[in-house]
């Protein structure tokens, strides 16, 4: 009699069937299907939405800002934390970027990008240290830094704004430059997505983030370096918010003190819609990325379809609620199944 009885027996279903079944049940696919439907329906209504050069470019370009934020946010949410300060970090970095260009006109673009990310990483580090050291829920800490960073921004910028004329043309053209019809900024977003996605899926550090989120106490007992990992997740989120700030400046060409206002909730929304569990431990950046594309594209599609401004927010809200309810239902069902499986193995013994 073996002592290590498995909680759940390995599936007897054939591997192909299992993969197909998993794909059908996967949240990523479900969200992607909705995304394709939205694009298809809107294109039928207005072919320009997909087939004009502007339409195609905007379809890929507009979500990349939220995509970058959502990837960072996912890394934090997986550890059962949340980073609400990313909107303010984005705004602050966007202004910092503009200031760098207007005060030091000769600075190479790549240097500004790196400085922007470093700046964001420092802001993220502050969050991480506060959360890890004081053991206060990240919701509270980052709500505080949301206001503090925004306050610093307001004091620094006042009602000064960075205008397109203050920045080099090369940098501004980056906002719309394309390679083989794919916008450069989208490529940047996808590279970030692939790198973080690969790390979370395969690297030890990435898996530990999931372990921490699934059961923080167990992770400590098991000897994982919980604090270090959580700080790392916040630094990543901050650095990506910094990158998003640089992208914002390149894309919109103007920065005022309300830049990035409310973006943090969109980032959380994108992650949740993409199947990242708000209580940590599960979800992928792929899902969050598709969630970001869906959220942004729905926002762009509704006015084209002719739904009034006043209803657009309600639709987005319904989407988030739907995603959370679905999440809850699915995890409750999973839980029941696991409990049943445990009962079965017990009675079989």
């Amino acid at each position: 009699m073996s002592t290590d009885t498995l909680l759940v027996e390995p599936s007897a279903v054939s591997p192909t069937k299992r993969i197909v079944g998993e794909l059908l049940r996967s949240r990523e696919i479900a969200v992607a299907v909705v995304f394709v439907l939205v694009v298809a329906l809107t294109t039928i209504k207005s072919p320009n939405f997909l087939f004009s050069s502007d339409g195609w470019r905007d379809l890929l370009l507009t979500p990349c800002l939220l995509l970058i934020l959502a990837v960072g946010q996912t890394a934090v949410i997986i550890t059962r934390n949340v980073d609400l300060s990313v909107g303010s970090t984005l705004g602050l970095t966007a202004y910092f970027t503009g200031k760098l260009f207007s005060d030091h006109p000769g600075l190479p673009i790549i240097a500004v990008v790196v400085l922007g990310m470093l700046f964001g990483a420092v802001l993220g580090l502050v969050n991480g240290l506060l959360v890890a050291i004081f053991k206060v829920p990240a919701l509270v800490i980052t709500l505080g830094t949301l206001y503090i960073y925004r306050g610093i921004f307001l004091t620094w910028a006042g009602s000064d704004r960075i205008n397109a004329g203050d920045m080099p043309k090369d940098f501004l053209s980056l906002g719309t430059k394309t390679v083989l019809t794919i916008p450069v900024l989208t490529i940047v977003g996808l590279v970030v997505l692939a790198a973080v996605g690969y790390y979370l899926h395969t690297a030890r550090g990435g898996r530990e983030l999931y372990a921490i989120g699934s059961d923080p106490d167990a992770a400590v007992l098991y000897g994982l370096k919980v604090n270090r990992r959580i700080i790392g997740a916040f630094v990543l989120s901050g650095a990506l918010a910094g990158l998003a700030g640089v992208v914002y400046t390149a894309r919109y060409g103007t920065v005022s003190s309300n830049a990035g206002l409310g973006m943090e909730l969109q980032a959380v929304g994108a992650a949740v819609i993409g199947g990242v569990a708000i209580f940590g431990g599960s979800g992928t950046v792929w899902g969050a990325a598709i969630g970001a594309f869906l959220l942004v594209t729905i926002n762009r599609a509704l006015p084209v379809v002719g739904i009034s401004d006043f209803w657009q927010r309600a639709v987005v809200g319904a989407l988030i609620l739907g995603a959370i309810v679905l999440d809850r239902v699915l995890s409750a069902r999973q839980e029941r199944r696991l409990v049943a499986a445990r009962e079965e193995t017990r009675s079989a013994r």
């Binding site: 925004r150 009602s159 920065v255 309300n258 409310g262 006043f310």
Partner: protein, 347 residues
Amino acid sequence: MKVRNRRLSALAAVTLVASLALTACGGSDSDGGSDGASGGGGGGNTTVTFLPKNLGNPYFDTSSKGGKAAVEEFGGTFDEVGPDTASPDAQVQFINTAAQQGVNALVVSANDPEAICDALNEASDAGTKIVTFDSDTNPDCRDLFINQATADGIAKVQVDMIAEQIGDAGEVAILSAAANATNQNAWIDTMKKELEASHPNIKLVDTVYGDDDDQTSFDKTAALLQSHPNLKGIISPTTVGIAAAARYLSTSEYKGKVALTGLGTPNQMREYVKDGTVTEFALWNPEDLGYLAAYAAKALVDGDISGKEGDSFTAGKLGDFTVGADATVLLGEPYRFNKDNIDDFDF
């Protein structure tokens, strides 16, 4: 103007206001000596304090520049104070301080028509003349309002510009600020009437709201262009909206094909006027506005005018002005900016 901004950063604003209150007290002490002297001197040296919605705002920097120039011309003492953020009650302590200092005239752009009324009335009781400019308070809280432009004038100049730019025929749309923005809604109503009355071939097909947010306005512009393939022009009666729309247009296939005009500031629009995205846009000249407000304050202090309808005074290089109904003085027609004059301005 930026309601969302204000609401979400309320906490930060409160902190700022608290710190500013302290700063303001410090400032009043250092100015105390000179004010005592001017108070005693009477009419000779007119002290005028400008209180814009907030400091560090290029728009108000320009209006204060005009105000300062005017005060120097008539040999008075100019001072400028103000909060860092334009929140409704942030101006109250500055008004109280000015009243305690006994300045002759206070020139205010009100952040809120009601919130600063009590403070203004107290200052008025202490003998300070109150002039509002740019943003008015309730009429009974001030002696005079310097109106930068009338709703009719603003609406008409925008309709005229779009008509000139699209050849007086075709589809146009409006990109506004928030759906509940009082000023913009009043202008839009007047624009609709003006379009119907004088430009029957121009059809207003849509009005969208960018919430005075760069990003939202930008995305709404994209949506407008996509949902109305025959669009000939966009009117954006808000400085944030027009800049965001110009940024989108300048990188789009519609650049040069869809006209864009509205209310903007030269610094925000310079790039797009030079690259041909925008031909002409309008706004009043804030420098003239500050200049006129300072002269009006002087006329009130000297007793040349009392704010009665029909009173008239001379405002230096700008010439003669007459007080209209509700103690209001109108600066004049909105000012049009294009590539020939845009480099003369920095705000």
